[in-house]
């Protein structure tokens, strides 16, 4: 059994709180002492998105006394499919403000601390210091490794959850005796190889399931009851509705929790091989960065990534308007094509290598590949190049950029 959080002085409960928490108080494993531990506990939710929403809601309902929320984003319509902490009324508001509104509505006895910022190597240790347990509900590998390392360095357990489409993972990392995230995955995948939820989609209910599992683990850690997922990875398959646990081991060579050669936070964008995030604040619009379209220029002046020119939607539009349409290939999935399309030939990226014969143009014909946001299509462009197509470009920003900047009537998903 894990050691419970042991704050020096337990706060008392008011009569109103005693009434509110009565179902906990009559449960011997929680009781008055446990409820006071919950009230004294400080939990940081990193992200108030799909996982953070159910997580924070249940922690608030359970009476965790101090709930920290880290998010820099604003609520969008497309969040509401799963982020049940936000609502129509708060679309456009800062997520931390929106979440606070919902949480205080649910439990007026708790204290919400808003960190309206992107978690970075510069602020993570300072923010983590003020909490007992960290719950990682972020959506990118950079922040996953940042949260892990900051948890190890500050000695805070990490109630971890992660989701993709219909599958989820949960564990408790960075406890004194247990493995950390790096023990499980020493290095991140190269950018683009594993799609994000924004690119790959996610069943809206799944983060609800996994976020509530994270909340359960947080509560168990605070109360010191049960068997937390330390040294175990829970796999959730929502389609088969199977739950499995796999054994995790602490890696003695782990550079952060084993050999301890990593003594401070590193540059996680560099570690994960991705460009630095924008420094713009949550409500600032970045400069557009699109390249000026020139109807008669070739795509030769487009930026090149791994030998593939990255053309802008403006460039493609200008070419089409001038009557020089390249061959357009869409490598999204069929169900995405059904939502919106640009009239391109559709071959999903996973089927491309078997269907090259359907690309009925000469090998030196100009081909522009697009997907939703430009990541899968870059893969596809590389594959086409390997297969001998010599004039392949990737549409930067994909059909979403087209819908945002060329044809706003198109739906965005």
């Amino acid at each position: 059994m894990p050691k419970a959080m042991d704050p020096p002085i337990f706060p008392s409960l008011s009569n109103e709180e005693i009434a509110r928490y009565s179902r906990h108080l009559i449960l011997p494993e929680v009781g008055m002492e446990g409820q006071k531990k919950l009230k004294a506990a400080r939990v940081l939710c990193v992200g108030t998105g799909g996982l953070g929403a159910p997580l924070a809601l249940y922690l608030a309902a359970a009476g965790v006394g101090t709930l920290g929320l880290v998010d820099f984003d604003v609520v969008e319509e497309s969040n509401l499919q799963r982020q049940v902490i936000h609502s129509h009324a708060t679309v456009g508001k800062l997520k931390v403000d929106s979440a606070e509104q919902m949480l205080q509505g649910l439990n007026k006895h708790i204290h919400i601390v808003k960190h309206n910022t992107m978690l970075t190597s510069a602020n993570a240790l300072e923010i983590f210091k003020g909490y007992d347990v960290i719950a990682d509900g972020t959506d990118n590998f950079q922040t996953r490794y940042l949260v892990n390392d900051a948890c190890v360095l500050t000695g805070k357990p990490n109630a971890y959850g992660s989701i993709f489409r219909f599958e989820g993972q949960a564990s408790v990392f960075a406890t004194e005796q247990g493995p950390c995230y790096r023990c499980l995955y020493p290095a991140p995948p190269p950018p683009g190889l594993v799609p994000s939820c924004a690119e790959g989609g996610v069943l809206g209910i799944l983060p609800g399931l996994v976020g509530v599992i994270q909340a359960t683990e947080v509560i168990k850690l605070i109360l010191g009851i049960g068997e937390p997922l330390i040294g175990r990875l829970l796999l959730v398959d929502a389609l088969g509705m199977n739950f499995r646990t796999l054994r995790l081991r602490k890696n003695p060579d782990c550079p952060i929790c084993g050999t301890r050669q990593i003594k401070e936070l590193i540059d996680y964008d560099q570690f994960c091989g991705v460009p630095k995030p924008t420094s713009a604040g949550p409500l600032e619009v970045n400069s557009n960065g699109s390249l000026e379209g020139n109807a008669y220029a070739s795509f030769a002046d487009a930026p090149i990534v791994d030998g593939i020119p990255q053309i802008s939607v403006e460039q493609l539009k200008a070419r089409m308007d001038a009557g020089y349409s390249p061959f357009l290939l869409d490598v999204r999935e069929r169900h995405e094509y059904a939502i919106v399309d640009l009239g391109a030939l559709l071959i999903p990226v996973g089927e491309l290598h078997r269907n090259l014969h359907n690309i009925n143009v000469p090998k030196d014909a100009e081909i522009v590949v697009h997907c939703k946001s430009g990541i899968r299509s870059q893969h596809a462009a590389l594959l086409l190049k390997e297969q001998g197509f010599t004039n392949v470009s990737n549409l930067a920003g994909g059909i979403i950029a087209w819908a945002e900047r060329i044809d706003p009537k198109l739906p965005k998903y």
Binding site: G47, G49, G137, E167, P189, G273, T278
Partner: protein, 108 residues
């Protein structure tokens, strides 16, 4: 033996969640998998032919990395291999909501 394919990689196995392959060892079974679905190669193995560090393979409930003979471990037809890739989904994307799409990232 059966190999469980996680959702992110099913695009490369004609959407099949489980693939049955021959093989006397873990390495042989994985080789048979990749032979049947060549597009999996770059997702599972590095250019040098090693399993990628963000892909964990489990023989039943044990991580292959911790088996004494690792991928050379012999397998029985009733054993199951599971591929467990790292997934990161959970919250909104990292970029501000109203900023343009991020630049396309480089990758091998």
């Amino acid at each position: 033996m059966n190999i469980h394919i996680p959702t992110p990689l099913r695009a490369y196995t004609e959407k099949q969640p489980t693939v049955s392959v021959p093989g006397n060892t873990i390495a042989e079974a994985l080789a048979a998998l990749v032979a049947a679905y060549p597009a999996l190669q770059q997702h599972l193995f590095t250019a040098e032919g090693n399993l990628r560090s963000f892909v964990n393979v489990y023989l039943n409930d044990e991580d292959v990395r911790w088996l004494p003979q690792k991928e050379a471990t012999t397998v029985n037809p009733g054993d199951e291999l599971s591929i467990i890739p790292s997934i990161a989904g959970g919250a909104a994307p990292r970029r501000p909501a109203n900023a343009p799409a991020p630049p396309v990232r480089t990758h091998p």
